[in-house]
Amino acid sequence: MPRAVRDETTARRSLRLLIVEDSAIVSTRLVAAVEGFAGIASVDVARDGAEAQQAFGGAGPDVVLLDLQLPDISGLDLLRRYKVLHPAGTVLVLTSFAFAQLRARCQALGADGFFDKVFEFDRAIEVIRHLGQAAVTGPEGATL
């Protein structure tokens, strides 16, 4: 699994972010966008469902930025599994198919955010920035 960013020293308490995205073009830009955010201890990238499930093991990521269209398994299955393993973790869904029924389905499976990959990706990035801040300063220091 490619490890994009690791900074063990920046935060008193910091978050591990996992980006699940099969396109390197997109994942590279997402990593670049969250780079340097306060409270983000590490950013990992999983290119498919298998890599993502491997990353879910152990303590697992605190925040998952999840693309639903993956080459091997359904992103919905991945969402369900992550939420079973880490009920307190945060999942932000980023998809090209942002339609109402899919949003409802994701929410039913426990997704914390649902964004159109092209038109709303910067909102997802913004949410990650806030989550990082909140991890550093406590919930009162950050607003979503």
């Binding site: 396109s23 997109v26 966008a33 090209s96 109402a100 029924q101 899919l102 990959k117 092209v118 990706f121």
Partner: protein, 547 residues
């Protein structure tokens, strides 16, 4: 008239009847030869009658000749009547006496009246009965009495007075009785002739039928077979009679027992059974069989047999050909689907991701430039950047639309239920018809072929609704259990019209049915009670693809 003469005349007339009957049996009735013989028989009888005549006075004799000659004309026609009259006249002239010419006149008038009576009874069948015959006899003998006035010496009126009563009673009665016997014989002969002709006609149908016909009995023996049956079974009639039903049916054919039971139950059977030719080769035959009863009470069965080997071969060939074309159509459809999947992925994954990357970069540059917002020189650059971002948005939307129209990635990546919901949303956008989609939360994973078939059937059904149904709402419902998955597309439109099977709509419906068939599913079009149509497709959930 003396008793001896009476007895002699009665004997003669009875003999005449017997001779008439014998001749008509031997030679028929209507041939010129028969008519000639009848003439001779009647003439001879008349002569014999004159030989035993009753002499009223010298030269004036009475006998049964008028009866005989009259009946000769009435039953034999002009030729018979003429011959009988000539013979009788010849003999009467030879006898001589004062009444000879008057006697000949009586003979001639009797013959002519007889011929006339024959013509009349041909037109009015009511005359062919005992009253008619009596009336005929009355006229013949009234004319005979009139002839008496022509006797030489003016003795006619005295003769009439003395013989009128017996002549107008006894001789018409004799005419009636003998005529009745001849009439009965004539009727019997006619019935016999009609029967013979009828039998000949039916036999001709039997002999010349292009279907094999067997006359059989319910217990399985064969009584008669026509030439076509002999040709079909490769046996002559005697051989078929000997081997019976067991020799012509295929004992391994399970339909046979059912067919016989059906015939026993309902008295008839029509269907296909396997029959056997001499030598053991069997062939498929269409058989119709009926049980019937002869007037004698004996039960028979008819069996009409048609060899349908050729038709079966043609049907089989047609079936094979249809299967080949079905496989070809399925193969083309699969290739088309694969091609669409490949193109859709390339467009979505490659072009789509590239555009997403560009969009992200533009946004990032825009955000970075926002930090230098104080420098007004950057404003044009920021504006170009925003415009480029908008162009990219349009391109992304176009790429997503093209990819989805080829084959939505959702179907492969997220499964059928969400793909159905997505398509319902697109239907609403594209056609402006509100579309509700009801899918269960938990649908077992379907084989890709099944999911594809259901999705494409939905697309075609929605297109049909939009094109023809004039509906204002559509419901899509997917239900699934362990054994089957059912998709219903219900609209509230005007229903489906029966259209030309080659029209695009019909071909579209055929395409839907074929897609269902390829995954061993069933497609039904139902009329919705409140108006509208239900398209229902049911597919076994775990069926291997039918290809």
């Amino acid at each position: 008239m003396s008793a001896t003469a009476l007895i002699n005349n009665v004997t003669l007339l009875v003999t005449l009847c017997a001779a008439y009957s014998a001749v008509s049996h031997r030679f028929g009735r209507e041939t010129p030869g028969a008519k000639l013989i009848f003439g001779l028989v009647f003439g001879t009888t008349a002569v014999l009658a004159m030989m035993t005549s009753w002499t009223l006075r010298p030269g004036v004799v009475f006998d049964g000749r008028s009866v005989v000659v009259g009946l000769a004309g009435a039953f034999g026609g002009p030729l018979t009547g003429s011959i009988a009259a000539v013979l009788a006249c010849g003999y009467r002239l030879w006898m001589g006496g004062s009444g000879a010419w008057t006697g000949c006149g009586v003979i001639a008038s009797s013959a002519i009246l007889g011929i006339g009576f024959r013509v009349l009874r041909g037109r009015w069948s009511a005359l062919s009965g005992l009253p008619g015959l009596f009336g005929f006899g009355l006229i013949v003998h009234a004319v005979m009495l009139a002839w008496m006035l022509a006797l030489p010496g003016g003795e006619g009126s005295e003769v009439i007075r003395s013989v009128a009563a017996p002549v107008l009673v006894a001789l018409p009665a004799a005419t009636m009785v003998i005529g009745g016997v001849l009439l009965g014989d004539e009727r019997r002969a006619r019935a016999q002739s009609e029967l013979t002709q009828s039998e000949a006609r039916y036999r001709a149908v039997f002999q010349n039928s292009l279907d094999g016909i067997l006359l059989t009995t319910p217990d399985g023996s064969i009584r008669a077979a026509n030439p076509e049956a002999c040709r079909l079974f490769g046996r002559d009639e005697a051989e078929l009679t000997r081997v019976g039903r067991d020799g012509v049916v295929d004992p391994s054919d399970r339909v046979l027992a059912t067919a016989l039971a059906e015939r026993d139950r309902s008295g008839r059977y029509r269907g296909e059974v396997r029959l056997v030719r001499k030598g053991g080769t069997s062939f498929p035959a269409e058989v119709s069989s009926v049980v019937f009863q002869e007037p004698s009470g004996e039960r028979f069965t008819s069996m009409v047999v048609r060899d349908v080997s050729e038709r079966k071969r043609a049907e089989e060939e047609l079936r094979r050909s249809e299967q080949r074309y079905r496989r070809l159509a399925a193969r083309i459809e699969t290739l088309r689907e694969e091609e669409r999947t490949r193109l859709s992925r390339q467009v979505h994954d490659e072009l789509g991701q590239l555009l997403t990357g560009i969009k992200m970069d533009l946004r990032r540059v825009e955000q970075q430039l926002d930090t230098c917002a104080d420098d007004p020189r950057l404003n044009p650059a920021v504006e170009r950047l925003v415009a480029a971002g908008e162009l990219v948005d349009t391109m992304v939307a176009t790429v997503q639309r093209i990819a989805s129209e080829l084959r939505p990635g959702i179907l492969d990546k997220l499964g059928l239920p969400l793909a159905l919901q997505y398509e319902a949303g697109r239907c609403e956008e594209r056609y402006g018809i509100p579309c509700w989609c009801i899918v269960p939360d938990d649908v077992p994973a379907l084989p890709p072929e099944t999911a594809t078939a259901l999705f494409r059937i939905l697309q075609e059904a929605l297109a049909n609704v939009a094109r023809h149904a004039r509906a204002t709402a559509v419901e899509i419902e997917l239900t699934a259990d362990v054994s089957r998955v059912t998709l219903e597309i219900r609209d509230n439109g005007v229903g489906m019209a029966r259209s030309d099977p080659s029209s695009p709509t019909s071909l579209g419906l055929l395409g839907m049915a074929e897609r269902a068939r390829q995954v061993r599913g069933d497609l039904d079009f139902l009329v919705r009670p409140g108006g509208g149509t239900i398209v229902r497709v049911t597919i076994p959930a775990t069926a291997p693809p039918g290809r």
